[in-house]
């Protein structure tokens, strides 16, 4: 059961459960669309596109973890949450999933609701809550930010993977009986490894950006008083 990789394909979960999560995802995304109208200024728009492109590209490189026995890819929730915030972040991940399902069949179209719930909603929400919490506790230094990004990545990936277990328990097309516990364990173990890989990439990426262009990191921006926010887009950053 190597690469469950979080993209649920057609036929794994039954129709009614898929439809129910589809409705849930639709409502949640509508809320994100509404809330991100305020966030998506001139500067965040390209950043959101880059975050989406980055997740898209890195998800296409299924990288072997350690021995190659387990392979997986980034989910990107933590990266999106730190760089563009929870609302736009969820939309970025959702866009990636929609495009992937339409043209790659990577995650079935009929299962889009499930995939969006796990990766775009749960993944980003967990990551953002952790980031918001940790940035208050940890010192506001480069290493503090690195630790924050790492922890948020690992945990968000873990929680998101259990979203699949829940959905499978609710509507798996094959009754695996007591193995559901085993499924949860396998998913957790595999995604711990994926999470570590994701954590490393997220942490370095975020730190690189925060060092050179702190103005681009949403999570840091929300800590500052609002008055320093500016509307002019500036190459090389804002003053």
């Amino acid at each position: 059961m190597e690469n469950l990789a979080m993209h649920i394909s057609n036929g794994i979960v039954n129709g009614p459960v898929a439809a129910a999560f589809g409705a849930l995802a639709l409502v949640a995304l509508a809320l994100c669309v509404f809330r991100s109208r305020q966030d998506l200024d001139d500067r965040l728009a390209p950043m959101a596109g880059l975050v989406a492109a980055f997740i898209f590209a890195v998800q296409m490189l299924n990288f072997p973890i350690f021995t190659g026995a387990v392979s997986g890819h980034l989910l990107g929730g933590a990266l999106a949450a730190v760089l563009v915030g929870p609302w736009v972040g969820a939309l970025c991940v959702a866009v990636v999933l929609i495009v992937q399902s339409l043209i790659f069949g990577d995650g079935g179209v009929a299962m889009l609701g499930l995939n969006i719930t796990n990766m775009a909603l749960i993944g980003v929400a967990v990551a953002y809550l952790l980031v918001a919490l940790l940035l208050r506790i940890l010192p506001r230094t480069v290493s503090g930010l690195a630790v924050t990004a790492f922890v948020a990545s690992v945990l968000s990936v873990l929680v998101a993977s259990q979203g699949f277990v829940l959905q499978y328990w609710l509507g798996g097309t094959t009754d695996v009986g007591n193995s559901i516990g085993g499924l949860a364990g396998t998913m957790a173990a595999a995604h711990l490894l994926i999470g570590v890989g994701e954590g490393l990439i997220t942490a370095t990426t975020v730190v690189t950006v925060a060092k050179v262009r702190p103005d681009l990191v949403y999570a840091l921006r929300s800590l500052r008083p609002l008055s320093t926010a500016r509307e002019f887009p500036v190459p090389g950053g804002a003053r």
């Binding site: 190597e2 794994i12 898209f56 043209i103 009929a110 695996v176 262009r213």
Partner: protein, 256 residues
Amino acid sequence: MGAGHAHVLYRERTSAVHRLPPEVKIAAMVVFTLAVVATPREAFWAFGGYLGLLLLVAAVSRVGLGWLASRSLIELPFVVFAFALPFLGTGEQVTWLGLELSVDGLYGGWNILAKGTLGVLASLLLAGTTTMRDLILGLDRLHCPQILTQIATFMLRYLDVLVGEARRMRVARISRGDDPRFLWQLRGFAAGVGALFLRAFERGERVYLAMVSRGYQGRMPGVWLATGAATTRHWLVAATVPLAATGIAAAAVVLG
């Protein structure tokens, strides 16, 4: 997969399917997939019917069966899951070649294999006949919120930027005596990713500002939205396949 580029799946051809407006193709593909997923797994003949429909579309769109087959390998990871199910499933068991298999698990595996494969083939037909840009245009015409299509537009643009900047960084390194096997060997995998990210962002930001200088205000100019939008005829033509699929699904449910 190492592809990383958005257009890899597009097959440059001229065919009736290529010429269809993207929004009808998206709608047809989604309805088709829903019909497939709604089909009871025991109705083997129905899946044969779906495959027939897809092969028909493939023939009309001239994307090539070999290409379809090789590209559909993307679902391999899920197939592994499908093959695990007969061992994991509970309930009635059968013995085959000395293996204890769950009947429910066998059906489950078949279910995933069949529906997954048909779904992937349907997406591949969409991808093979529609550019990424047209896809976004189609989503826009299907009233996808503008904020999503805007992010998707930038995503598309940045995929090119990422690939371009990665190429530049590689060329810069090898021509000064470095011998990397991967882009990532620049002070480890992650540091390379971070540097690439920043570089792509700053390039993309400059591009964005240049767009703004030419009057961009968050939405691509209307010309590209207005020309070639679907007519009733397009919708009718494209509806044939999903309608046939829905018919098959209904029959399967009733007979099933």
